[in-house]
Amino acid sequence: MTGVELVFTAFGLLAGAAAVLAVTSRHVVHAALWLVVTLGALAGVYLTLGAEIVALVQLLVYVGAVVVLVLFALMLTRAPIGLRNDLYAPRGQRLAASVAALSGAGLLGGVLLVAVGDATVDPDPAQGRAKPIGQALFAGWALPFELLSLLLLAALVGALVISKGPSRSRSVPRPAAVPRAASNGSPVATRGRAKGLR
């Protein structure tokens, strides 16, 4: 096992373990912080795979921006602090989720393991530097790059529109309490009737 592979294995184990903790932690904030560990370790994985710029973008965008957004969202939705047992769906759904996760991971890993076999790669760090990536991005990938900026603009405008909410004039006012005259008719006051009043 070479030195690079050792570093890769360390970062990979850290990322995998932190990912599992991020989706199983019973503290809401801890889950977000384990996500930080996962994404940071993945940046290390990219570095060992010879993708320097991708690792830096990962650190900047994911650890710097996405996680901050997630933590802000947790704060703004008054996420409970401390140990919570109501973060999970009912037991049946949890069981189905773990079956789906295990079978999905097994399928993906199994197929890819068979496909790659016993092969090794020798990443070239010179390929992942800023210059080759920049040349590829702004020459060959110019159109997708522009489309990405359009997507970001659309996401920005969309987030603004969504968080502003529907305008007051178009929102239907909530009807006041039903007057008593409306509740005549057969004296069947089951819950179904109460629901079907409107």
Partner: protein, 162 residues
């Protein structure tokens, strides 16, 4: 030299964790964490593919180990594209989550059963008729529970005699 089994197993583990987080969590923000993990599994595979020799897996079988000298760098550029899309996605998704929280005071996905604007008869917990009863029977004797058949009949008689 990196054995390719490592990145592949890592991507599979990340994808599994992401699927579990998407399906098993109730808090909408924690569901988004699962989505992020799924996107990162894709990224690991893309970056790994950028280190493959010319011809990809077939080139590996032919014995090459040096990465392909493709000037377009598709693996790493696509990884950056995925990261950008993930940033756009999470910004939009968190706006939706915050709107849901403002409207319903909850981001518990098991309680969000109606799409769109909450209808007047909407209630978070269908087993609890309290909300509906208060809205539909604001009579003086209403205790908050659903009125019994006798109560309603008496109230209607009272209304008829007036």
């Amino acid at each position: 030299m990196i054995h390719l089994a490592g990145p592949v197993v890592l991507a599979a583990a990340l994808a599994g964790a992401g699927v579990y987080g998407l399906l098993a969590r109730r808090n909408a923000v924690l569901v988004l964490i699962g989505a992020e993990l799924l996107l990162n599994a894709v990224n690991v595979l893309l970056v790994t593919a950028s280190a493959l020799p010319a011809g990809g897996l077939a080139g590996l079988a032919a014995g090459g180990t040096r990465p392909a000298a493709d000037p377009l760098m598709p693996g790493q550029v696509l990884a950056i594209v995925v990261i950008t899309i993930a940033a756009a996605e999470i910004g939009l998704a968190l706006a939706v989550v915050l709107l849901v929280y403002r409207r319903r005071s909850s981001v518990d996905l098991t309680q969000l059963r109606e799409l769109g604007e909450a209808s007047p008869t909407y209630q978070e917990n269908p087993d609890d008729g309290e909300l509906t009863a208060r809205a539909t029977s604001p009579g003086p004797g209403s205790t908050g529970a659903l009125p019994s058949v006798v109560e309603v009949a008496a109230r209607e008689q009272e209304g008829a005699s007036q």
